[in-house]
Symmetry: C2
Subunit: 163 residues, 2 copies
DNA sequence: TATTGTTATACTCTATAACTATA
DNA sequence: TATAGTTATAGAGTATAACAATA
C-alpha cells in the first residue's frame, strides 16, 4: 500500500471566514434536520410553528415572506402540519382569498418538543464554546442577520417603525 | 385592502444560535456561489483548486475525503476543471488504479481570481462587523470546526500527530 | 477479495410558471 | 386587472448502488 497524505482542508480554506461560516451553518442545519426528522418532524416545521404560534392572524403569504420561502413551497408544508393536527387553516371572512393559519393546542405542544430538540443539537454543536463565547457568536450573527434582512429585527421594532 | 402584520421572524428563532448560524451560513454560501458562477466557476471549484494547489500528489479519493464529498460526485467536477485546463489527471504509475491530480499554471491563476471574488463577497457580507469582530467570529468558527472534524486542523498538526 | 475511479439511478430541495377563486 | 392560494413541472444538488480496471 502506497502512502498518501492524510485528508485535510487546505489552510487557505481554514482562513476563510466565508468558507467556515458556510460549512458550519450547513452542517448544523443538517444535524438539526436529522434529529427533527427522527422525531417525526419535517425541516420547516420549526420555523412555521414558531411563526404561527408567536403571532396571531397569519396568512400564508406573510408566513412565506417571513420565513423567506416561496408561497408554493409553503402549501405542502402546511398540508403536512394540518394532517397531523398541528395547525388549522381557516378562510378569512374579510377576504375570502386568504387563509388564516393558527397553531392548535397540540401544535404548541409539539413546538415545545421541537424547541428541546433544537436546543440539544445546538448545545452539542457548540460544545467547545463556553457560555461567553456562545453569546459572542450569537451577538455577531444577529448583527450580520439584521444588517442584511429587516425581517431579523424584532417585531416590536418593525411595528414601531411602521407607526 | 386589509392590513396584515409586516413579515418578520419570530423572536424565538432570533434567539436560536442554531437557526441564525444555519441561515447565515446558507445565505453566504449562496452569495459566494452566485458570484462564482457569474465569473464562470462552479460551486466546488474553490475547494478543489485550493486543495490541489496547496498540496502535491493528491488522488481523487483524498480530495473527496478532504472536502467531505462523495468520490462519485468529484468525478464530474474534475471533468469540468480538466476540460477548462485548470487541472490535470495522470495515472499514478505506482498504483495504476489511482489518478494523481495537479493544478495547471492557469488553474493556479484562476484560483487567485476565485480568492478575490470570495474575499469580496465575504467583506460585503460581514460589512456590519469591524475587524476585531470578524476575527472573533473567525476564531469561534475555527474552534467549532476543529472540534467536530479533524480535517479542519492544520496540515502540520495532522502530520505531526501521524508521526 | 478489496480498492480506485466511474457511471447510472433516484430522491430531495428549490425555482418557475400556469391555474382558480376571489377582489 | 391584481392577488392568495394551489398545482405541476423542471432543474440543481446529493446519496446510493452497481460496474470495470487494478491491486
Amino acid at each position: 500500500m502506497i502512502q498518501t497524505p492524510p485528508p485535510c482542508i487546505p489552510s487557505e480554506l481554514l482562513e476563510s471566514t466565508a468558507f467556515l461560516l458556510g460549512r458550519m451553518g450547513i452542517k448544523l442545519k443538517k444535524r438539526v434536520m436529522e434529529d427533527l426528522e427522527a422525531a417525526g418532524f419535517s425541516p420547516w416545521d420549526f420555523g412555521v410553528l414558531a411563526l404561527v404560534a408567536d403571532r396571531a392572524c397569519e396568512t400564508q403569504a406573510t408566513i412565506a415572506d417571513g420565513l423567506g420561502l416561496d408561497r408554493s413551497q409553503l402549501v405542502g408544508m402546511l398540508d403536512g402540519l394540518e394532517e397531523r393536527g398541528l395547525i388549522e387553516r381557516k378562510r378569512d371572512p374579510r377576504d375570502r382569498r386568504r387563509h388564516t393559519v393558527t397553531a392548535t393546542g397540540d401544535g404548541k405542544r409539539q413546538l415545545s418538543r421541537i424547541r428541546t430538540i433544537v436546543k440539544r443539537v445546538e448545545d452539542e454543536f457548540l460544545a467547545p464554546l463556553d457560555a461567553e463565547s456562545r453569546e459572542q457568536l450569537h451577538a455577531l450573527l444577529v448583527q450580520v442577520a439584521q444588517y442584511h434582512d429587516p425581517r431579523f429585527s424584532p417585531a416590536e421594532q418593525a411595528l414601531a417603525a411602521a407607526v
